[in-house]
Amino acid sequence: MGNPKGFLEVGRKNPGYRPAEERVKDYNEVETHLSEADLKKQASRCMDCGIPFCHGCGCPVSNVIPEWNDLVYKGFWKEALDILRSTNNFPEFTGRICPALCEASCTVGLNGDAVTIRQIELEIIEKGYKEGYIKPEPPAVRTGKRIAVIGSGPAGLAAADQLNKSGHSVTVFERDLNVGGLLRYGIPDFKLDKKVVQRRVDLMVAEGVTFETGVDVGTDLSAKYLTNRFDAICITTGAKAPRDLKTAGRELEGVHFAMEFLWQQNCRVCGQVFEGENITAKGKKVLVIGGGDTGSDCVGTSNRHGAKAVTQIEIMPEPPETRHPGTPWPLWPYQKRTSSSHKEGCTRMWNIATKSIEGENGKVKRVNAIKVEWELGPTGAPLKMKEIPGSEFVIEADLVLLAMGFTGPEQGGIISQLGLELDQRSNVKVNADWMTSKPGVFAAGDVASGASLVVRAIAAGRKMAENVDKYLGNNK
C-alpha cells in the first residue's frame, strides 16, 4: 500500500461507456478503459486491509486483490499479473463481465465508493497480453492421464486449463460449433468481445488442450466411450434449461426464450451460420419478461437490432437505489442495478405479473399483465406476492423474450446415460471432493450448483480440477 491515505485523497473513477447513440449502432464493447495513470491512482485507494474482505469473502476465486493493487500502484504490472494468474484463469473475462462481488465487500465501500478492482484486474491481464507476458506455457511433463471435459463454458475451461497445466491430457467436448458456452453464446459482444474468448481458447490450444466442437456427448458419443477412454470425466454442461412461462399464448410466433435470441445474435456476430427461424427485434415492440442480467442483454441486443420500443418487466418489486439495510456490507447488496443496456433506452417496470399472451394470425400482439404487491421479509427480501385486483393492463408487443432464469441442467443426455444422481433442484449431485455418484466422474459449475456467475463457475472449475488431480494420484 503505497499511499495510506489514498482512499481519502482520491475519488473513485469509473471508465464509463461509449456514448449511447454511438454504441447502439455496433456490437463492440461498450465500456471504455481507464488510462494507466488513472488506474495507478485508483489502485492507491486500496487500504491494504488487515482482513481484505474483497479477497476473503467477496471474490469467489479469492483473488489476492490488495497485493496486485499495491503492485499496480507501484508500476509492477508483470508481478501483479503473476499474482492475478495464481487465482484466476481468465481475468480477461471477469475483468469485463463480473458484477465484482469484491467491490461490494471492499472496505473502502463501507463508507464511500469501493476501489475499482474490476478495472484494475482487466488492465493487468490486458497489459499482460499486450506486453507479451501471456504466452503459451505448456506443461513440461505429461502425466499420461486423459481427462474429458464436457462443456466449454467458464467452469469447463477453467478445469481444462488447470488440469492441462498439471500435465494431464485434456479433451474438451462442446456441442456448439465454437468454444465458450455462455461466454460465447450467451453474453453479447458489446459486453464481452468474442475475440477475447477466442484469444484465450487459442492460447489453451497452443498449450495442448484439445477441443472437439460440434460434438454432443450423449448423442454423438456415448458415455461408455468416454469412460473407456478417459481416466476422469468432468461434467461442466451448465444449467441451460430455461424457466418457461406457462400461460395461454405461449405457443404464438414471436415468443421466444431469451437464450435463443441471444444465441442467434452471437452466431451472427462471429459469422456462424445457423438454421431455423431468424429472430429479430428490428422495427418491433419488444417485451422482455424478466429483470435479470439475461433480460438486460436482450434489451441491449434489441436496441441494436433497431427495435421500435423495448419494455422490460419484472415480477419482483423494484429494489432500492442503494444498498438495502438487510444486506449490510460486506454482503452482496440487494439494490437496483442499471446496466449500460438499460441506459440505451427501455421502459422498466416492476411488480408486474404476466397473465396471458395474445396474438393475431398466430403472431404475438400483446401481453395481458397485472400489477402485484409483495409482502417483504425482515431483510427486505420479497416473500409473498398477491395480485392487485383491477390493475390489469395490456402491453403491446410483437416480440416477447422470456428471460426468467434457468431451472437447472438440461435433463437426459450424458447425465442420465452416466446415471448420475441429482439433488432436489435437479442439479448433478457432487460430494465434498466434487465427485458425482459415479467414481471418476466429476461435475462443477452451473450443472452442479444451478445457474450462477461466470466467476463462480471459474472458481468451481478450479476446485474440481484440484480434486480430479488428487483423484488421479497427482497429489504432491
Binding site: C57, D82, R85, T107, K165
Partner: protein, 663 residues
Amino acid sequence: MGISTLRSYRGAQIFEAVGLAKDFIDDYFTGTASRINGIGVAEVAREAEMRYKRAYAPAPGVPHLLDAGGQYHFRLGEEKHLWTPETITKLQFATRNNDMKMYKEYAKYINEQAEHLCTLRGLFKFKKAAQPVPIEEVEPASEIMKHFVTGAMSFGSISKEAHETIAIAMNRIGGMSNSGEGGEDPERYIRLPNGDSKCSAVKQIASGRFGVTSEYLASARELQIKIAQGAKPGEGGQLPGHKVDKFVAKVRHSTPGVTLISPPPHHDIYSIEDLAQLIYDLKCSNTDARISVKLVSEVGVGTVAAGVSKGHADMVLISGHDGGTGASPLTSIKHAGLPWELGLAETQQTLVLNYLRDRIRVQADGQMKTGRDIVIGALLGAEEFGFGTTTLVVLGCVMMRKCHSNTCPVGVATQDPELRKRFAGQPEHLINFFRMIAEEAREIMAELGIRKFDDLVGRSDLLEMNKAIDFWKARNLDFSAVFKRPDNPNLPVRRTKAQDHGIDKAYDTVNILPKVQDAIENKKKVTLELPIHNVDRTVGTITSYHVAKKYGNAGLPEDTLTIKFKGSAGQSFGAFLSHGMTFELEGESNDYLGKGLSGGKIIVRPPVNASYNPSENIIVGNVLLYGATDGKIFIYGRAGERFAIRNSGVTAVVEGLGDHGCE
C-alpha cells in the same frame, strides 16, 4: 522482565517454549521452560520436509510465487486466524441486530477449532457433568455480565467516540471500562442527562503517567497499574505523533504532534517492594477504589502474582499474548507473550498453594471472544474477564491493522475528524454482545451443573484435552500441568475476603483528616504543625483524595491547607498533592516525593541546625515528581536520581540533581 538492552536477552532464557517435547527441550534448548510437552525432532523434520516438498511442487501454470503467509494480513489458505471476514461479519450483524442465532454461528467458528486450531483452549473440552442443572437455575446473565471489563485502550489510540461508547456501555451493565493510559477529560466525570456516564471505571496508571492527576485517580472505581501488556511484554507503548492532536495532547498533558512513549519500566518500580509502595500510594489517592496490577502471561508470573497479592493489590490481571493486536509492533504480534491459559493456571496454582488467593481477585484477558472462553478462564482460576479487540470489532473494527497510521476507516482507532465521523458503534451493540456471551456461558454452566459463576472459579478438574481433534502436531500435547489443582481441597480458590490496606492507620487518617475538615468543606485556611518519621509513607495523599473528589484538579485556593512537618519523611511524601495544599518539610525526605503532584506545593529545607551545606548534599531521595502534572516544589538542597521524569507542568527549584534528571 528487567531487561532493557539487547545484550541482556542473550542467554537469559526468558523465552518459554510452547508445545515442544521435554526430551527435545533437554537436548536442544536445555533449561528452557516448556510446560505442555509437544512435538519433537520427528515432527520438526516432517514439517521441514513438507515445506520443502511444497516449495518444489509445480503449481499448475503459474509462476512460482512465494506464499503470502497470511501472518499479519489475512490470506485464504494461509495462516489461520479467528478473526476472519466471516466471524467479523457475523459478530457485527449479531450484535447490531441482537441476533442470538447469528451470535451462535459466530461463536461456533471460534469455539470449534478442529479445522483451524488457533488457541490452546481450542484443544480443551468440558468434562461431562454427572448432573447438569436446568438453565433456569443458573444465575442470570445480568449477574455474569458484572464479571466483564473492557481492555485498556487509551483515548488517543482509539477515538473519543469509541472510548466514550465503551464507557457508557460498561457503566450501564455494571461492568467496567478501562481508560488506558491516556488520561481522561474531566468533562466525562459528569453524568449525562439521561443517566449515562462516560467515566471509565478503571483508570490505568502506566509508565508514561499521562494525565494521572488527583482528579483522574479520584474518579475511578479501580486503579490499575500496568506493568506490561500481554501482547508485547517488556516493550512499553507508543502513540505516534500524528495521532496526538490538540485534544489528545491536552488530556495527556503533552504537546500536540509529539510521539508519546511509555517506557518498558515504571521509574518508581524497581522491585516488588516498590510495587507495593505504588499500590499503597494509589490506594491512598482513592481509598474507595480497588487496586489492580496488570501482569502478562509468562513463565514465573505466579511468583510475581504472589508478590502482588502480598503487596495488597485487590486484583491481578493476567494478560495473554494474543491481545493488543492493533497496538503491537509487528515483531511482537507473533512471537512475544504467552497464552493466558498458561499464565492464568500458574497464577491460580501459586496463589492457592501460598494461601494468597482468598484476598485477591484474578482477571484474564487476551482475545476473549465467546462464552466458552470465559468459562474456561473461570475454570482455570479467573473471576473477571477483559475484552479488548472483540469490543472494538463489535463497535465497527474490521481488523484493518492500521491503528498506528491514524487512517482507521471506521473511526475507531483514529483521531482524524473526518474518519471519526464514520464511527457507527452504539453502546447497545456492546451490551448485546456481553449479554450474548453471558447467555452462552449460562448454557455451558447448566451442562456443567454449576449455578453460580463464582463456583466455576478454579474448577480446572472440569477440563480435559479434546482427544477428538487429531492434528498431528497436537498429538503429544499434555495439559495436565495446566489443569492441575492443589491436593488440599480446603484451600480457598477464589477471593473471599478484602485486603487490609492499612488505610485506617495511615498518617493522613490519624493526623491530618480530623483536623482539616474546615479547610476541605469550607475552604477555610488551616495551618498545622506535625512531626514526621520515615515510616510515615504517602503523607498527604488521602487528604488530597478528599480535596480532588470535591473540587477536582482545581483543588482549594492557594495555601488553604498548610502543614509544616518536621522530621524525616517516608516514601511518597506529598504524592498527588492537590492544589491549595502546601507542605513545608524541615528535615529530609525519602524517595518519590511529590509523585504525580497535582497542583500542590512542597517546600523542603534541611533542619535549621544542619551542619552540612545543602547545596552539596542530597536532602530528598530518588524519583521525585514522577508523572507530576501541576504544582510547585522548592528544595533547599540537592535531589537524587531520576528527578522529575515525565513532569508535565510542575515548576521545580532544586540545587542539584543525580543522573537522568528531567527526562
